[in-house]
Symmetry: C2
Subunit: 342 residues, 2 copies
DNA sequence: CCGGCGGTTGTGAGCATCCACATTCTGCAA
DNA sequence: TTGCAGAATGTGGATGCTCACAACCGCCGG
């Protein structure tokens, strides 16, 4: 296995010079630079990252923790993060929580601590106090996306505002019989993520002087089939159905649209539908939605994290709570229209 | 930063004993084991993986290379692989090729070589000769999934057989006017991945004594909107449309079904549709399809790779070409029915 | 002609662990 | 009591790189 000494010998310089030359550091003459590069190429030398890590304390590796991979938001954000990190010469180590509590414990208690990552990106993951304490003890910066991380920087869309904006869009079209499909607030958690979009909906309704008809609000998981089932329920009795529905995600909106079609309803003539996400299929479905651009969020989070890592003194790594609200934007397409009497 | 020496001091033993105890090696008395464990817990000690790697040559980390993340097959397989690896105490470093040629070069020429991974899982990626030579020089085992890797072990479904099976299903129902939507053989590559399923279709048609009507074969990318567009084209002239269509992936089949519905055709009464994948939405759509269980493929690939790594002598790592055909199975649902005159 | 300056190069000491080997201990049989 | 086997423990490299520092080089001005 070819090491730095062989390269040094072949190039006729010391190992220190090889190290400097190969990492583009100053204080290397053009001549030495060339000799080293040639020697390295000839021998096919690539520095061992573990030795470099041991010597510098830097791994050039970022840990990404997320609850799912097989979902639109997560896979898009992950792809963007990966590309951005590679661009900056970082590797990305994946920690997926979908394997249950045991897996989560292993990840937080062992894997993230064995000094393998310079920092952590937590996507829609809320570490517990203990988990966070561990990470902080290592002075590893954390940046959250899609959900705030206590005591850390994070980049998140304002879910309440998004729900409100979507609902207001329906209100502005003259709808008053507005339903909602999505995650509802959970009595257990005081202010859990899934319920936030509902609060936005409720707020908009209240400000418009409307009361919420509990029969028009349906809870389901964030999938097409889940929403399809409850939507059919919701729209079956046409005399008593909402004229518009706000879905907490685009995939749910797709399910709602399919249910409406299967019941013979036309969208948007008989029913307006609005979602949240701007999924890559939303344009195809003509879905009006709230765009949240996860790829850009991911890139911004990487930038934030790398900026922190670039700070010279390690104490600055220690996490400062700092939420950055990600802007949301209404995208109007063909699934919403003015209210018209049926 | 607490190291092995602090633990040794607190436990009152040598660093070697700490090392042995914490890794569950033999030759440690129960008493010493306990003292070490207590000391480690008290200090919150976790071994530095870079130092361990430097000393042992083992990284406990697997590199996974894939072309996309944001696609059903890839995200499902990735999630399965990650869980399986974590279970075995391995980390997973992600290398996504979607960032273009430059990114690909960087990954193969630098990242995979800096001794950061013990092995590589290549998902639907065909490394070039040069790329493979690099990896072989490092004696890093590679296992391919979803596409053979020259000179390496791989686990792949037989695409030709899958296409044939799907088409034969339609033939068995009495259809003779059978179209296909999907990737077509490319004149450039002699036997490229996207065309394989077409060959299966062609083979089945030929064996049934039928000729392929070029107007019923449409090429498009592997997405719902892509298939929707060409399907509409295909079905518009009802007098001259196929009575059944084989789609090279389930997502394409969804697009075809939507197009049919929008044209007023009923599936399966007016049109039978069969796909390949058994996507997690296929049950919802009632799609008949060929199941290929990517999660299981992923787990099998991890097992193969870890088995190779467990071999005592490194020469055995050197890659042996060995293709394992993954079994495919027809899953009949509600999108296919007996041919009936329109 | 010499001192000094700026930039280049080499030296040696870490970095935190594991491994082979040497040493010490334990209990039991002779 | 002694010897001995086998297990438990400790010692001293070795791993491959980077960094701080010291030494060196050539050139210019005094």
């Amino acid at each position: 296995m070819v090491g730095i000494e062989e390269v040094a010998a072949l190039a006729g310089v010391s190992t220190a010079t090889v190290s400097r030359a190969l990492r583009g550091k100053d204080h290397v003459s053009a001549k030495a630079q060339k000799k080293v590069e040639d020697a390295a190429a000839e021998l096919g030398y690539v520095a061992s990252s573990s030795a470099a890590t041991l010597a510098t304390g830097r791994t050039q590796n970022i840990g990404v923790v997320l609850p799912y991979i097989d979902r639109w938001f997560f896979s898009v954000i992950l792809e963007a993060i990966e590309t951005e990190l590679i661009d900056h010469g970082y590797d990305l180590t994946l920690y997926n929580l979908s394997g249950g509590e045991k897996q989560r414990k292993k990840i937080f208690d062992e894997l993230l601590l064995r000094k393998r990552v310079d920092g952590v990106l937590a996507i829609a993951v809320n570490p517990t106090e203990a988990e966070l304490a561990n990470l902080n003890r290592m002075h590893k910066p954390i940046v959250g996306i899609g959900g705030p991380v206590k005591g850390a920087r994070s980049i998140t869309m304002d879910d309440v505002a998004a729900g409100k904006l979507a609902t207001e869009h329906l209100l502005s079209l003259g709808h008053t019989r507005i339903g909602m499909i999505g995650g509802l607030p959970n009595a257990d958690e005081e202010f859990g993520q899934p319920g936030l979009r509902y609060y936005g909906y409720a707020e908009a309704m209240k400000e418009a002087g409307l009361t919420i008809n509990e029969n028009w609000v349906a809870e389901c998981d964030f999938t097409i089939p889940g929403a399809y089932v409850v939507a059919k329920q919701l729209f079956t009795d046409l005399r008593n159905a909402p004229s518009a529905v706000f879905c907490a995600s685009d995939e749910m909106a797709f399910g709602a649209i399919m249910a409406a079609k299967d019941l013979g309803l036309e969208v948007p003539k008989d029913l307006s539908v609005v979602g949240i996400d701007d999924h890559n299929l939303s344009e195809f479905y003509g879905l009006s939605t709230i765009s949240q651009k996860p790829a850009e969020q991911g890139r911004a989070a990487v930038k934030t994290l790398l900026d922190i890592l670039a700070l010279p003194n390690a104490e600055d790594h220690d996490n400062v709570e700092e939420k950055k609200e990600w802007p949301v934007k209404l995208v109007v397409r063909a699934s919403t229209a003015k209210f018209a009497k049926r």
